[in-house]
Symmetry: C2
Subunit: 490 residues, 2 copies
Amino acid sequence: MSKGVTPKSENYSKWYTDVITKAELADYGPVKGTMVIRPYGYQIWENLKDRLDIEFKKTGHVNGYFPLFIPKSFLAKEAEHVEGFAKECAIVTHSRLKNNDDKTDLIPDPESKLEEEIIVRPTSETVIWSMYKKWIKSHRDLPILMNQWANVVRWEMRTRLFLRTSEFLWQEGHTAHSTENEAKEETLKILTIYKEVVEGMLGIPVICGTKTDAEKFAGAETTYCIESMMGDKRALQAGTSHYLGQNFAKAFNVKFQDSDNTEKYVYATSWGVSTRLIGALIMVHGDDKGLRLPPNIAPIQIVFVPIYKTDEDYQKIKDYLSSILTYCENNHIRYKLDNREKLSPGYKFNEWEMKGVPIRVEVGPRDLADGNITIVRRDNFEKTIEKIDTIESKIINILEDIQNSLFNNALKFQNENTHQVQNYEEFKTIINTGGFIKCGWDGNPQTEAKIKSETNATIRCIPMNQEFDNLNCIYSSKPAKYQVIFAKAY
Amino acid sequence: MSKGVTPKSENYSKWYTDVITKAELADYGPVKGTMVIRPYGYQIWENLKDRLDIEFKKTGHVNGYFPLFIPKSFLAKEAEHVEGFAKECAIVTHSRLKNNDDKTDLIPDPESKLEEEIIVRPTSETVIWSMYKKWIKSHRDLPILMNQWANVVRWEMRTRLFLRTSEFLWQEGHTAHSTENEAKEETLKILTIYKEVVEGMLGIPVICGTKTDAEKFAGAETTYCIESMMGDKRALQAGTSHYLGQNFAKAFNVKFQDSDNTEKYVYATSWGVSTRLIGALIMVHGDDKGLRLPPNIAPIQIVFVPIYKTDEDYQKIKDYLSSILTYCENNHIRYKLDNREKLSPGYKFNEWEMKGVPIRVEVGPRDLADGNITIVRRDNFEKTIEKIDTIESKIINILEDIQNSLFNNALKFQNENTHQVQNYEEFKTIINTGGFIKCGWDGNPQTEAKIKSETNATIRCIPMNQEFDNLNCIYSSKPAKYQVIFAKAY
């Protein structure tokens, strides 16, 4: 492990990239805008994926796989959808390379030019609804509750690892229902799963709400979202669940025969979270020593670092630890015994701090003599000496305490940086220093657009459970239609 | 469930597609050559994936993710590799769509033309070795034992679901080693995993061997493979494990400082299996009633079909079954109680036969009175009446017996259709009627090419553990260098 990371306070963006590089989470790929997810980063994704997959299956969803390639014409079938996705997509035009005339280079073979160009999926509504058209005839074919784990591509020139890359990994659920109500319930059921997993596993507090028309998914009736606050007080959209109404069913002419023998268009939802959540995880919990991982998501929850000079000493430490290691094994605690040779304990401490392992256990010759082990928490660097005989009963509590503590700190930070403001001047001052602003909005898209152009802040969401009295729009001073959250966002 | 499938004997290829369609395993996607994997097919893939992933992790491998997009120039870096993969690839040339002049269509925006074209990965050696170049400096960085679960694209005009589609899902392992020996051991270690999983889980007997130079992976020193025989006696390559020597290390200039302080090129392997295995599963075990799934891979191992007229009767049957259902639950037996309304038992029987569920349990009012349940095996349609009180102790044995029986039948079929021939005339006769031919080959690529052009048969593999006396080449009659397996292949 080379030097540490750029301090957050000095350059937040550089700090972020440093943590990713030094914790070996990801790297830049050779094509501009692409990302390589390294094993440590991928293990975080796998843990999240496994958990979400369980939740989806528990609620009756099944996985499948739809093609990467979409005919160009499909993108244009839903009017808003094409506006949203045609501007940044990868277009396949040829199917073969050949040598150029002087054999110095490979060029696309003109004879392999495709009749219709193909789009690399930016999202799969269109290709999926073209299939649902084939599969849905009757109300007995509904609901369809499908999800896929896949890669998607949206052309991006300004790359930021995990947050903004041309290709990213995600899950996308696409469901089809016979009634509006059932589809709306599905949308909210998924939003609840997202909230519970992001808060409970990643320790990231979120605000649930709906997007304004300007910010919603291109093709949705309503976009529900979970929004979170990053360490630099900017907002990040952590997940979305869209109620699509009959828009895609109409675009692809998907009707079903209902039990009353009438033909109706199918109701739809779609929803997704992506590897972007790993970016949020870094920004919400990371510090100037690197990552801090909540135990529920951490690939390694406890690292044991033996401190020894001779092989004989190492063997004694290993024996000394055998009971606690067995305990970890039996209780599905993800641990590592770092017995790498030729690396000093100090080097190891730094590395595991950088990688955010929640608990470090240090054991040296003196600990053996005293029946102790030394425990260092990554979240607050608290160091305690515990008796080896009683540690088993405490270890799960410490992990839980770290999990809760990271969440509570993030929640406190979010609350402290969420402001109610009296007037637009105050709004502009606070938006510039960072944070969320909770205020009234008259519901007029023009007001929203003006605030965005003047301050770069957008309405992140209209929180659920609106309750307010005598609230006026922060910009127009007209009576507020909604209380909303404004912020600058990733 | 509509009518059955085309009989195998009538049209094998149509039978295959019928089974896929009617068992709802997959469907054609809208872009020519693409495939949709439906939930029932995807569950088979998930079961296989989960098992392989466990085996890879047990042997020290970790997952990661590399980009879909590869710079065109990378493909050309390894001389053989480019020959193998440039001819059938998807080429991205533009990054934005715009309206045409009269706004009737979307066209690739000429201003978004890429400076260098991008290839959608047909396999990831090049992009991965460009990253290993960044990560590997010293022998302490080795070995790297990475795998990824990903989609890849190879342009195909003649689509055959699961077997030959433009896009398919696979895993690709890419490892880097400091010694030749270690890399070779890795190649064989993986081959063994493939053999064990394909035989033990999918019930498909395989022959392990190496490919000839003409048939090996473009860029490999040696390609090891597992070859299997389909129901129409043609061969299918079920998995490959490549020893790449230093070819990619040299192409990407990846050297490491060894412990003796000298600089050396890194040794490499790569290996993969794909969704093509689902095609093999169908062809090896399927019959004229549809799929027959070995229990170890089946998404549903036992389906319970209650036979009843009134809700009250159904409730009685459910109570009657509760103990065996609990037993299945506790013993991780994947079961389904088919309580769908308005469908006759006969309809359900046909559907689950088509879907290849290994055991069907039928329970009607008379069974209740007698304390019986009726068990029907999908592999041989054997119907037995068992006492409900003692069924728990037998059920796992029946599943094991089906697993073994399907494997043994496939092995018998393979052995019966593997021929030793005396001369080339006999070779040609047998190759035309189908099957494997085991014979001598002089090791000359020209002999191999001539046989291929005259008979369409290729050398599927040079089996491991060569042991033969006085064997001559089937074509040239010169002394044989190897005993090989010839067949027509998918």
